[in-house]
């Protein structure tokens, strides 16, 4: 049996979904919002694809779309992680 790239991708997708399901069960409600916001920041991983889509100088349609993708993905990543940290800092600070 040889797996083509698509099938390998599907294997990876299915297994990673199970990892996701297993990790999230039994989360205390206190963490629902930060968890959602942190997971949301991780979905900004699409930035890796965005970076590869804007690699030449002339302003072509593909470049502009790629640059827009970088801007929006960066907002998702930077904003998402920062805002999650802000929330979690509040949970931590009472341990005085």
């Amino acid at each position: 049996m040889t797996l083509g790239p698509l099938l390998i991708g599907i294997y990876v997708f299915v297994l990673a979904s199970f990892v996701g399901f297993e990790m999230i069960t039994k989360v205390p409600p206190t963490l629902h919002t930060p968890l959602m916001s942190g997971a949301n920041a991780i979905s900004g991983i699409t930035i890796v694809g965005a970076v590869a889509a804007a690699t030449t100088a002339p302003p072509t349609v593909a470049n502009i779309l790629g640059a827009l993708a970088i801007v929006t993905a960066t907002i998702n990543v930077v904003g998402g992680f920062l805002v999650t940290d802000r929330m979690l800092r509040m949970f931590g600070k009472k341990k005085k």
Binding site: P5, G20, T55
Partner: protein
């Protein structure tokens, strides 16, 4: 080291490390003690992934990349630092929308570069490969829905769009499903269309998916937005995963799939807490069509109200107090005032705890975040299952801007729209004070029997003002 070695060995190892950091990050995010560290680990994983992506490119023109990242960082950081804790649900929805549109843009850009700009003559499937062509279309579809869906969710959370009420178009199911099938057909046609003939179909698909995001979200009411935001979060993960198939990068596939699964689980948790199916939430119109449900009249007959001074006198003798916060607390920004009152009561030897309904507020865990901002120790925030047996032996319950989640009709009347929804059994306490601006119904659009109970007193007013009044009165005791 040659760039080939970097691409074939170094970069994949970096991506693998990044994946491991994401897994540890999410794992640690799900425990209170390690959550902050988990978030930092995940952020490190992301940084590593970006470094890997840039190494993979080698020497290219970095101006677009650098410019985009700087601009995105400034915008994202500004939002994240400025946002009020009460607006956190809106913030998550907004970021989520950006993540979704980014995946759609990546896919469109790859398509445009390879098919349109190269002037390819074969079909899209020939040029980029059939699998990639299909996933390009799926990225656009899911990413587009995520984007406009999140924007609508954001507006509903802000109380815009008919104050967040469901907007029900005539024949809406027909329109929505028609457009969904049409969009899928546009995408399929684009896959087999030749060269630049495909542009029209891709644009139709993009437009269709953006409209779909709107159509799917407008019929759902503001209070169901926790479910919607968490489902859209799942979609944005799937969109990123699809983009991973397009560019053949397992890191995107894995990261996206984990977020997709996590979002689905949170969605499920929300639905269980309301005793409603996901389908029931997504169909929308909740609380609009069947206003007659609930049995009996919607008029209130036997309501007693009082002012802060009477409430303070009851609080004076109370040995145990449970506070039930709801969305009204967030609207009134009363989280600091409530902690101040709790501190004063605790100083007098009263036992104070908080009963948190899983769907209180406008996003999962909304109340926990708000009260944490006001330094309420999270040990005092008790989940529904833990606190429900306590009400019988509790002297005073103070309900702050919560409504449907304390309505006893849920367990009594099977014809009620909220029948079977688990509630906080506030009515079992000796005295109940309901702080509310008026007798207007909650999200379910039905009357709350609790307000007519003999042990219930209404205190009409804005939660923050009432609390400040109470604090003044308790101080004077």
């Amino acid at each position: 080291m040659s760039h080939d070695v970097i691409r074939s060995t170094v970069v994949p190892i970096i991506y693998l490390l990044s994946t491991v950091l994401f897994i540890f990050g999410i794992k640690r995010l799900s425990k209170v003690k390690t959550a902050r560290q988990g978030n930092t680990l995940a952020a490190l994983g992301m940084l590593l992934a970006i470094v890997g992506a840039i190494l993979e490119l080698g020497t290219v023109d970095y101006r677009w990349i650098a410019g985009g990242m700087i601009l995105g960082t400034i915008i994202g950081a500004t939002f994240a630092i400025r946002v009020q804790m009460t607006s956190m649900p809106e913030m998550v929805a907004l970021f989520n929308g950006f993540g979704g549109i980014a995946s759609a843009l990546v896919a469109t850009s790859v398509y445009w570069e390879l098919v349109v700009q190269q002037g390819a003559s074969g079909t899209v499937a020939d040029v980029v490969g059939t699998d990639e062509a299909i996933t390009v279309m799926l990225s656009i579809l899911i990413g587009g829905i995520t984007f406009t869906g999140s924007i609508i969710a954001l507006m509903k959370l802000q109380g815009n769009l008919k104050k967040g009420q469901p907007i029900l178009l005539p024949a809406r199911h027909f329109i929505t499903f028609g457009l969904l099938f049409a969009s899928i057909a546009f995408g399929a046609t684009a896959v087999v269309a030749a060269g630049s003939d495909s542009i029209l179909w891709v644009l139709l698909l993009a437009g269709g998916s953006l409209v779909l995001g709107i159509l799917l979200t407008i019929p759902i009411g503001g209070a169901d937005m926790p479910v919607v935001v968490s489902l859209l979060n799942s979609y944005s993960g799937v969109a990123a995963s699809m983009a991973g198939f397009v560019i053949g990068n397992p890191l995107l596939i894995i990261g996206g799939a984990m977020v997709g699964a996590a979002g689905l689980i949170l969605t499920q948790i929300m639905c269980v807490a309301m005793n409603r199916s996901l389908l029931n939430v997504l169909v929308g119109g909740f609380g609009v069509a069947d206003g007659a449900g609930g049995g009996g009249s919607d008029e209130y007959t036997n309501v007693t109200s009082c002012g802060p001074e009477e409430a303070a006198m009851v609080l004076e003798d109370a040995e145990s107090v449970i506070i039930i916060p709801g969305y009204g607390l967030a609207v009134a920004q009363a989280q600091h005032a409530v902690r101040e009152l709790a501190d004063m009561l605790k100083a007098r030897g009263t036992k104070v705890s908080y009963g948190i309904h899983p769907v209180a507020g406008r996003m999962p865990g909304h109340m926990n975040v708000l009260l944490a901002e006001a330094d309420v120790p999270y040990e005092e925030l008790l989940e529904m299952d833990v606190i429900n047996p306590e009400f019988k032996s509790t002297d005073v319950v103070i309900i702050l801007g919560a409504n449907d989640v304390v309505n006893p009709v849920a367990s009594k009347d099977p014809s009620s729209p909220i029948a079977g929804m688990p509630i906080l059994n506030a009515h079992e306490a000796r005295s109940v004070f309901v702080v509310k601006r008026s007798l207007s119904p909650g999200y379910a659009g039905i009357k709350n029997e609790l307000f007519e109970y003999d042990n219930t007193m209404m205190i009409f007013g804005d939660a923050k003002k009432v609390l400040q009044g109470l604090i003044g009165e308790v101080k004077a005791l």
